[in-house]
């Protein structure tokens, strides 16, 4: 193992002297994702709040047909605007979030006590406008019920007659679990951090070393290949896990500036979180480092290796996408699947749910076994004669 340590120390030392690698591992990798994430969340939350508090601008067609309704809307801080010429188009072009149309026969139907129609013109595919549409619909329904109740009272009936069922919602989500639906992307950022952190070294220690023609002299030393490979993988893994750790710390730090308290949420980023996350990320970092090295070993040049390894980056997206599109109930077998188990465990930890020790152990063990298999495969490639020869 002594030679593996020599290789490890040399790779760490050499790569620490490479400014680009250091910036990738210590700055870009860990900070980029959390920063983008914080910006994203901040904009999202702030905008939602602004929308709820601000007056709702509402172009109305035929406002003169229902002056009482318009007055009621005004009292609910709706800013009545003159109608655009082509309301359908205005909505499609996003000039207006929503337009209200009151037909001419509204007043006649209203006076006769028949249902009077109003039209909400909106574009359901514009997610941005959805809150405005929801708000308007709520206001109209409220006005509808109030008027209906008044009419019943005028006829001597109790308004309760029209409400055979009363729905009361009891939302079981906690502050944490509400926060984590926003934060379900976070594990991917940590996994990505591990990926980016190890990438430069995985390529440099195989494809790079071959391209610089230093692999053949290295193999001429009386050191078994597995020791050389272990040293290189060790260095790659250490860089990867450093990126993950810094990424978590960066997130814990910037998490303070998130307006989570505004929406009544709090995130469980404490010491236990950091410890558990690093624990489950350790074997994954080794697995990713090994896979990156394996892929880079097949490439003929540094550039080719970069292309292949970048493509490999899409693999960790798969469980993230699957879990966000199909919100599975967590089943115990999922803790045995590398990548997916890390995803689930980190998400649960963030939500403040507890993760059984057996799940942590299963995740660590299964990812570790996968890493060992990948190691065996890479070692096989390392023993091939073609590996060292650059020309």
């Amino acid at each position: 193992m002594k030679s593996a340590l020599v290789v490890f120390l040399k790779e760490v030392r050499e790569n620490l002297r490479d400014r680009r690698t250091v910036i990738n591992t210590l700055v870009t990798g860990p900070l980029f994702a959390p920063l983008i994430f914080v910006l994203l969340i901040n904009t999202l939350v702030t905008r939602e709040f602004e929308k709820a508090e601000k007056p709702l601008p509402l172009p109305v067609i035929g406002a003169e047909n229902a002056p009482n309704l318009i007055e009621a809307l005004r009292q609910q801080r709706v800013e009545i605007k003159p109608a655009p010429e082509d309301p359908e188009r205005a909505v499609r072009d996003q000039d207006a979030d929503v337009v209200l149309r009151i037909p001419k026969d509204f007043a006649a139907a209203w006076d006769k006590g028949e249902p009077a129609q109003v039209e909400i013109i909106h574009d359901g595919s514009q997610r941005d406008a959805n809150s405005a549409v929801g708000r308007l619909r709520g206001l109209l329904e409220h006005y509808d019920q109030r008027t209906g109740a008044l009419r019943l009272v005028a006829r001597g009936l109790s308004p309760a007659v029209t409400n055979p069922i009363v729905i009361a919602e009891r939302d079981q989500s906690t502050a944490q679990s509400r926060a984590s639906s926003l934060f379900s992307m976070l594990p991917y950022f940590f996994i990505l951090g591990g990926f980016i952190g190890g990438m430069a070294l995985a390529i440099d220690t195989t494809a790079g070393e071959r391209e610089r023609q230093s692999l053949e002299p290295l193999f001429a030393n009386p050191v078994p290949r597995w020791q050389i490979l272990s040293g290189k993988l060790g260095a790659t893994t250490v860089f990867a896990i450093t990126t993950v750790l810094l990424s978590i710390l960066a997130f814990a730090a910037v998490g303070q500036f998130l307006p989570t308290e505004k929406i009544g949420m709090n995130l469980a980023i404490g010491l236990p979180f950091v410890a558990c996350t690093i624990f489950v990320m350790l074997p994954l970092a080794l697995l990713l480092a090994t896979l990156q090295t394996l892929v880079a070993a097949f490439a003929k040049s540094y550039r080719e290796a970069q292309t292949y390894v970048s493509l490999l980056m899409f693999v960790p997206v798969i469980p993230t996408l699957m879990l966000s599109i199909m919100p599975f109930k967590t089943l115990s077998w999922m803790y045995a699947v590398p990548l997916m188990s890390q995803q689930i465990i980190i998400t649960r930890l963030l939500r403040g749910d507890d993760v059984p020790a057996s799940a942590l152990a299963l995740c660590f063990f299964c990812t570790g076994v996968a890493a060992l298999l990948a190691y065996a495969l890479t070692l096989k490639v390392y023993h091939s004669e073609r590996l060292a020869i650059s020309a």
Partner: protein, 244 residues
């Protein structure tokens, strides 16, 4: 002492080495001479166990390379065709890295590095990062690191490739010095003069086969040519790939 017995190596249908047999003795410089593509590099790669021969045997100081490749590599100093350095390490650090991989203690590494730096006149660049080294500086560093474990046997693949006149002369002197120290020196070359000027023994290789294996003067007598270059052409039966 390096012995090669009936060595065969093919890459798919291309036969690189086709039954080569020769020996390089201690205290002698042996030249592996042949045109480009004759199988010199492949033969040497089999010697330092980077490649496994399809058939045949390689013995270094009596150790079978197939049975104990690590021991063989330990008794060999190798300057391969690929002589890349680590650019973000200095020459001194490059040398120390290989010393540690050879399992040598730090004090010995330091002392031998100093000796090599003096012998190869590397003083003015030894502490600078290898980025931007000249070709000659790179070769000197590669040789110093290949010999850090003081091996009995030295293998060099085209050692003067890409060197200017002064550096080539220095390299020749260095090889002679290795010989005086009693080492077994085996180097490949496609350059006539070089082999003629240095070697105690010449192994001429063409199309993967050894076509001659003797002292330069014997080869001249054998072919009836007074000039070694003419003898060489006669031996390989073609003028292809012959450099002045």
């Amino acid at each position: 002492m390096i012995e090669v017995r009936d060595l065969h190596k093919a890459f798919g249908k291309v036969i690189a080495v086709d039954g080569a047999t020769f020996a390089a003795r201690d205290g002698e410089i042996t030249g592996l001479l042949g045109p480009n593509g004759a199988g010199k590099t492949t033969t040497l790669r089999c010697l330092y166990t980077l490649m496994q021969p399809d058939r045949g045997q390689v013995l270094v100081d009596g150790i079978d390379a197939a049975a104990d490749p690590i021991a063989v590599r330990r008794s060999l100093g190798v300057l391969p065709d690929a002589r890349g350095l680590y650019k973000r390490l200095s020459a001194r650090e490059n040398i120390a890295y290989f010393g540690r991989l050879q399992g040598i203690d730090e004090a010995t590494i330091r002392q031998r590095t100093d000796t090599a730096i003096a012998a190869l006149e590397m003083g003015d660049f030894a502490n600078r990062h290898a980025e931007g080294y000249s070709q000659g500086q790179r070769v000197k560093t590669a040789i110093a690191r290949a010999l850090i474990h003081d091996p009995r046997n030295v293998i060099l693949d085209e050692p003067t490739n890409g060197l200017d006149v002064m550096a080539t002369r220095a390299m020749r002197e260095f090889l002679k010095r290795l010989k005086r120290e009693g080492r077994c020196v085996l180097f490949s070359s496609h350059i006539m003069q070089e082999v003629a000027a240095l070697c105690d023994r010449i192994v001429v290789i063409a199309k993967g086969k050894v076509v001659a294996d003797d002292a330069p003067e014997v080869l001249r007598a054998q072919t009836g040519e007074a000039n070694l270059e003419d003898a060489f052409v006669k031996l390989i039966g073609t003028e292809e790939g012959l450099a002045a």
